[in-house]
């Protein structure tokens, strides 16, 4: 076991040294804090992939994974002490610790990705996937046979609710009589999401949009089991945040994914630091910025997603960007509790 670790570490250690030597003075050194493991197959892993793009572009980078809100203050301070120019704290959980750190640390810039509020001294990056979800809704509304759609969220957070609203609005825009069942499960319980999916399928739902991070594996497995057993009554699904179009369980039944291109978002803030155009505030990433977009499953473009449907999706995207089409904002009054 140790030998295998050795063989995988040694080149990395050497490579790190080489990278540090070759890092261009212009590219900022970037540290990434993640809440989960960088192998979680979801939110944290996507961030690591985004960071890898910066590494490839010549930045000195490091990643600190599995950081809880309790430890975040220490880790942020540590990264600053290590001379990183920018710390991307990947998760709303880091908002308060980052704002506290920014009070005393001026040499290092802090960006919190996934945060929806402004705090002095830091950049909050807010991702709005509702528009891409609208485009997914158009597909679902067009392709559903039963007229019954399902949405599964990992938690009833506003960002998740926004995806739901976008999906509903998109579906109703092509077929007014669709119904969309919504359920909120968990970000990490694969089995729970699987059983929720099975429940949806048994209700006759044939389009299921999961926004449950890596636990979507449970959704896809349930769909695979159903579709393998009932090839004449297929259930279709989607991806959210990450690109699930090639997921091993149900890739062939995954029509499209509403993705967040974290690499783009990270590159934006890194560029601001490099160009010294960095200023605290909130950065809103959405369809227009090219960061939160719908990606159609390329293998299904000749099948269910025909040219006419593709045209509809494109047109809606243009209208959303132009502002001629808006998703009804039902964001509840901030203080109201969001029941789980």
């Amino acid at each position: 076991m140790w030998f295998s670790i050795a063989s995988s570490f040694l080149p990395r250690v050497l490579g790190l040294a080489l990278l540090m030597a070759s890092a261009s003075a212009a590219e900022p050194a970037v540290a990434l804090l993640t809440t989960g493991s960088i192998n979680d197959g979801g939110w944290s892993q996507l961030a690591k992939q985004g960071l890898d793009k910066l590494t490839a572009a010549g930045s000195r980078t490091t990643v600190v994974q599995k950081v809880s809100a309790d430890q975040a203050g220490t880790e942020l301070r540590d990264c600053a002490a290590d001379g990183f120019d920018l710390v991307i704290a990947h998760g709303y959980e880091f908002l308060n610790p980052a704002a506290e750190a920014a009070k005393t640390i001026t040499t290092t810039k802090f960006a919190v990705s996934g945060a929806d509020v402004e705090r002095p001294g830091i950049v909050s990056i807010d991702f709005d996937v509702s528009q891409a979800s609208y485009q997914l809704g158009i597909i679902a509304g067009t392709l559903t046979k039963s007229g019954k759609l399902g949405f599964i969220g990992g938690g009833a957070f506003p960002s998740v609710k926004a995806c739901y609203r976008g999906f509903v609005a998109g579906a109703k825009s092509v077929r007014a009589d669709v119904t969309v069942a919504e359920a909120y499960t968990s970000w990490d319980q694969v089995a729970q999401n699987k059983s929720q999916t099975e429940a949806f399928i048994s209700q006759g739902i044939d389009q299921i949009y999961p926004d449950v991070d890596a636990a979507a594996r449970g959704v896809y497995e349930a769909i695979k089991e159903h579709n393998t057993a009932n090839p004449q009554k297929l259930v279709w699904t989607y991806g959210c945040v990450g690109d699930a179009n090639a997921n091993p369980a149900a890739g062939q039944w995954t029509l499209a994914s509403a993705i967040i291109r974290l690499d783009e978002a990270f590159a934006h803030v890194a560029k601001q630091v490099r160009d010294k155009t960095w200023k605290p505030g909130i950065v809103r990433e959405n369809l227009a910025t090219g960061t939160c977009v719908a990606v159609l499953n390329p293998v299904l473009l000749k099948g269910p997603i025909d040219a006419a449907l593709q045209a509809k999706i494109t047109a809606a995207g243009a209208a959303l960007i132009a502002g001629t089409l808006t998703i009804p904002d039902e964001r509840p009054a901030p203080a109201a509790p969001a029941a789980k």
């Binding site: 140790w2 250690v13 490091t62 600190v64 301070r77 308060n96 957070f157 901030p334």
Partner: protein, 345 residues
């Protein structure tokens, strides 16, 4: 001499186990091609490389120490309180409620500690009530209440304690004026550290020098003999359970009042870690202090190793596990050797 816990040999067991675990892990890294000296140097620098890092190490030891004391109090009395995790969380919730909903003031953090202690004790009382009233074993009920506590936190940070400024499930920040005062300016170490050390000494004196401590020790060793000696076993066990819950609750309150200054659904609890710390500290209130530092130091050192040498920081947890396994095995062996050799004065 009076206290028949033979603290010296206990300390040797614990230190030996910790050393063995460290040696195994560093040795393994050496086989994997890392220079042991650089591993030790980098790890040590992560723990004590600067006064700031030392302060961080002490700060991270606080919740471990508090939960370790809570576990010591319960386990020494034969009360299997596995619910420190939940009691800690409830303490944190109560403290955040006091600190963010109440007025601002320098006495607030102390009120928050009291509230946290009460909440932790109350959460433990639920488990004791289930045991007394319904016959649910404490081990089970406390574990299940841990799960419920996580959801209580989730509900609170989305409901009554939710920060209206954000959609994220988290509480508002504790205002500057209501935070635990810092021990040294420029470091994150707050005065809760002194409180925790004083509580350790107080618990030690309680166990060693008071009738209550003696009765709890007797109950822990032989509850039947305690009953036949007229000790109100049920009431004393309740005292130990509530005290243990209160200590865990204070730990949670200290963490939000002195370190995080807010609560989110992603909160980390130190309850299970506290049980491990207590076992490594050989269930001695003063032994728990170095054990807590060992754990927090391993965390810090391992993270430094990950950042500098790309060694996964999970090796820190591996080291903790090895130390714990070694200390338990050594403890069992020494008991066996001790029992085969009666008549030790």
């Amino acid at each position: 001499m009076i206290l028949k816990w033979a603290p010296m040999s206990e300390a040797i067991i614990a230190v030996g186990a910790a050393t063995l675990a460290l040696a195994l892990v560093v040795g393994g890294l050496a086989i994997a091609g890392f220079s042991p000296w650089s591993v030790i140097a980098v790890g040590w620098a992560g723990i004590a490389g600067s006064p700031l890092r030392l302060a961080i190490c002490a700060q991270e030891a606080i919740p471990l120490l508090m939960c370790g004391l809570a576990a010591t109090l319960a386990l020494r009395s034969g009360v299997l309180n596995i619910g420190l995790e939940g009691q800690y969380l409830l303490g944190a919730v109560a403290a955040v409620a006091v600190l963010t909903l109440g007025p601002v003031g320098s006495c607030l953090p102390w009120l928050a500690l009291i509230a946290g202690g009460l909440a932790g004790a109350l959460w433990c009382a639920v488990a004791v009530g289930l045991e007394r009233g319904r016959g649910v074993p404490l081990v089970l009920s406390t574990i299940l209440l841990n799960v419920i506590a996580i959801h209580v936190v989730g509900v609170c940070v989305q409901g009554p304690l939710h920060d209206p400024a954000t959609a994220a499930p988290q509480s508002a920040m504790v205002p500057d004026g209501s935070r635990m005062p810092l021990l040294f300016a420029g470091t994150p170490l707050h005065v809760g550290f002194l409180v925790a050390v004083m509580l350790a000494v107080a618990l030690w004196l309680m166990q060693r020098r008071t009738a209550l401590g003696f009765e709890l020790e007797v109950i822990g060793l032989n509850p039947l003999a305690a009953r036949f000696a007229g000790i109100p076993v049920g009431r004393r066990e309740l005292t130990a359970a509530l005290g243990s819950g209160a200590l865990a609750g204070i730990a949670g309150a200290m963490q939000v009042a002195g370190v995080t200054w807010f609560l989110s659904s992603d909160v980390r609890s130190y309850g299970y870690a506290g049980i491990a710390v207590a076992l490594l500290g050989r269930l001695h209130p003063l032994g728990v202090i170095p054990a807590a530092f060992f754990f927090s130091g391993l965390d810090l050192g391992a993270r430094q190793l990950e950042r500098r040498l790309d060694i996964p920081h999970d090796l820190g947890d591996v080291t903790k596990g090895l130390a714990l396994a070694a200390v338990l095995v050594a403890g069992a062996l020494s008991r066996r050797l001790g029992s085969s050799r009666p008549g030790t004065p």
